[in-house]
């Protein structure tokens, strides 16, 4: 299935490889056999309406949720049921920007950014603070922000700090959970530019979920569309307008009429 396999940097093992991933909550099947490969250095965006299981898919890859069936491989290693210290080792390859930034509100900004360095890698606090301030600079924040608390920042600034936290440990894979939700169009574009820049600078692999098409077009090489627990279309971003897929067409044009019916219940 050529649509599933990565096009960029192909030849080696895919960075992330999902095979037949299935997850149900009680009788509700949320993911129904997901196959997806993300090549090294590639940026894939998963689009889909609210409640289609995008977040669940991301949490399965991160190991926060366990899939019922199927395998998840990172760098060719099966990490589906890895726990404890081995899971922490896998996590060191990852960075994640959460939808609501999920900053630790009991810690100042710089400790948030340096958290992975101090707790995960055992870097000293002084060096970690210097690196945190440098990373804050990379996302366009001045050193004065470092000593503020997250609650003192606007939503856009919190997203920037969340991005800085995600990239501070120089991860190999970065996940973005709805990076532009709740931001004005200008700030959305700023965040999109930062995402593209950071991913390129790090040479990282990126997997994002969003329903913001402007964002999806800007930050991705490939787009996958999730609907009712299945990937109904996977293809290069340049082909999204000519996909010939009724689901994709309805979604990218934001039409109420079409094959997609809105979900009422969240998971």
């Amino acid at each position: 299935m050529s649509a599933v396999n990565g096009t960029n940097g192909a030849g080696g093992t895919p960075k992330i490889s999902l095979r037949g991933v299935r997850k149900a909550f009680g009788p509700k099947v949320v993911l129904d056999g997901i196959d997806l490969d993300v090549a090294r250095g590639e940026s894939v965006v998963i689009i889909g309406g609210s409640g289609t299981g995008k977040s669940v898919l991301l949490k399965c890859i991160l190991g926060i949720l366990q899939p019922d069936q199927g395998t998840i491989r990172i760098d060719g290693e099966d990490t589906t049921h890895v726990t404890g210290r081995e899971r922490e080792a896998v996590m060191r390859k990852f960075g994640m920007l959460f939808q609501g930034a999920a900053l630790f509100d009991s810690l100042p900004v710089w400790e948030n950014v340096a958290f992975g360095l101090i707790q995960g890698q055992g870097v000293g606090r002084r060096e970690a603070k210097e690196r945190a301030i440098a990373t804050l600079g990379a996302v366009g924040l001045t050193p004065e922000v470092a000593d503020l608390f997250p609650s003192e920042l606007s939503g856009g600034m919190q997203k920037r700090v969340g991005l800085a936290r995600a990239i501070c440990t120089r991860p190999e894979v970065i996940f973005f959970d709805e990076p532009t939700t709740g931001l004005d169009p200008i700030m959305s574009d700023v965040i999109n530019d930062l995402i593209v820049k950071c991913v390129q600078d790090l040479g990282a692999t990126a997997l994002s979920i969003t329903h913001d098409m402007a964002s999806a077009r800007k930050i991705s090489n490939r787009i996958a569309m999730l609907h009712k627990g299945k990937l109904v279309w996977v293809g290069p971003t340049s082909e999204i307008d000519n996909s010939g897929n009724a689901f994709v067409d309805q979604f990218i044009h934001g039409r109420a009429e079409g094959p997609i019916q809105m979900q009422i219940r969240a998971f």
Binding site: G63, A89, M91, F94, F98, G100, A102, L103, G116
Partner: protein
């Protein structure tokens, strides 16, 4: 049939909750024994639970001691047993009222705060964020609170014992015109080492239960502000009931 179904469903829910709590306790305890240890966080929790609870616990203790002296006087004066007041005060405080009242006050103050803090962290995905930063949430959030709760409550209760006895002394000497030296002598005369130790052991158990309930309900809260509110209520109510039940069981073990 519907009636039987309700019983079955309730039983299953109860078993499920018990199992989940047992798993949570086991996970938390096993992480207590394995490095890394976050000493800075343990210290911060100790200050929060121990130092900042001192005013509340102290006030509770002093008034309890004062009331005990007044009440036992009005009773014992009827059969000329006023000299037993000092003993009644010190035994009641060290064996029962010190640990139980301090436990209940701390459950309201600390258990609620823990559940609210962890619950908010859960619903704003901060707990998931910890996992993605290679940090185990049990180790980072739960273990410091359990250790601080278990170690700080005995110290608080020891302070409460002293303040409570002092409250009884104040009322007896300044209001009931007892001889101060006699009162202090009577306080020491029948007090045994075990009376104080049993109270401190109870306190350690209560401290563990308060922290466990706060963390458990906070950690498993869901559904936004309402869920966090429910978690806070459940933490305080379950900790308070467990304190009263365990107090009876422990008293049975110590003084059977």
């Amino acid at each position: 049939m519907n009636f039987l179904g309700t019983i079955g469903r309730t039983t299953l829910l109860f078993m499920e909750a018990t199992g989940r709590l047992a798993m949570f306790t086991f996970m938390a305890l096993s992480h207590c024994l394995r490095p890394p240890f976050y000493l800075r966080l343990i210290g911060r929790q100790m200050v929060d639970i121990g130092y900042y609870s001192l005013p509340v616990v102290g006030l509770t203790a002093v008034f309890t001691g004062m009331v005990l002296a007044l009440q036992s006087y009005s009773g014992f004066a009827r059969f000329n047993a006023e000299s037993a007041i000092a003993t009644v005060v010190v035994l009641s405080i060290t064996r029962e009222l010190g640990p139980v009242l301090a436990g209940l006050m701390v459950a309201g103050r600390i258990g609620a705060a823990m559940a609210a803090e962890l619950g908010t962290m859960r619903v704003t995905e901060q707990v998931d964020a910890l996992t993605t930063l290679s940090t185990n949430p049990y180790k980072y959030l739960v273990v410091p609170r359990l250790i601080a709760g278990t170690t700080m409550l005995p110290i608080l209760v020891l302070v409460a014992d002293i303040i409570g006895v002092f409250g009884g002394y104040l009322v007896s000497v300044y209001r009931l015109d007892f001889n101060p030296a006699t009162y202090v002598r009577n306080t020491w005369q029948y007090l045994e080492f075990m009376d104080v130790v049993s109270g401190l052991v109870k306190a350690a158990v209560f401290g563990f239960v308060i922290a466990l309930m706060g963390c458990y309900h906070g950690y498993h809260s869901k559904g936004g502000a309402q869920g966090v509110g429910a978690a806070t209520t459940n933490a305080v109510v379950s900790a308070s009931i467990l304190i009263l039940v365990l107090n009876y069981l422990l008293t049975g073990i110590f003084f059977s």
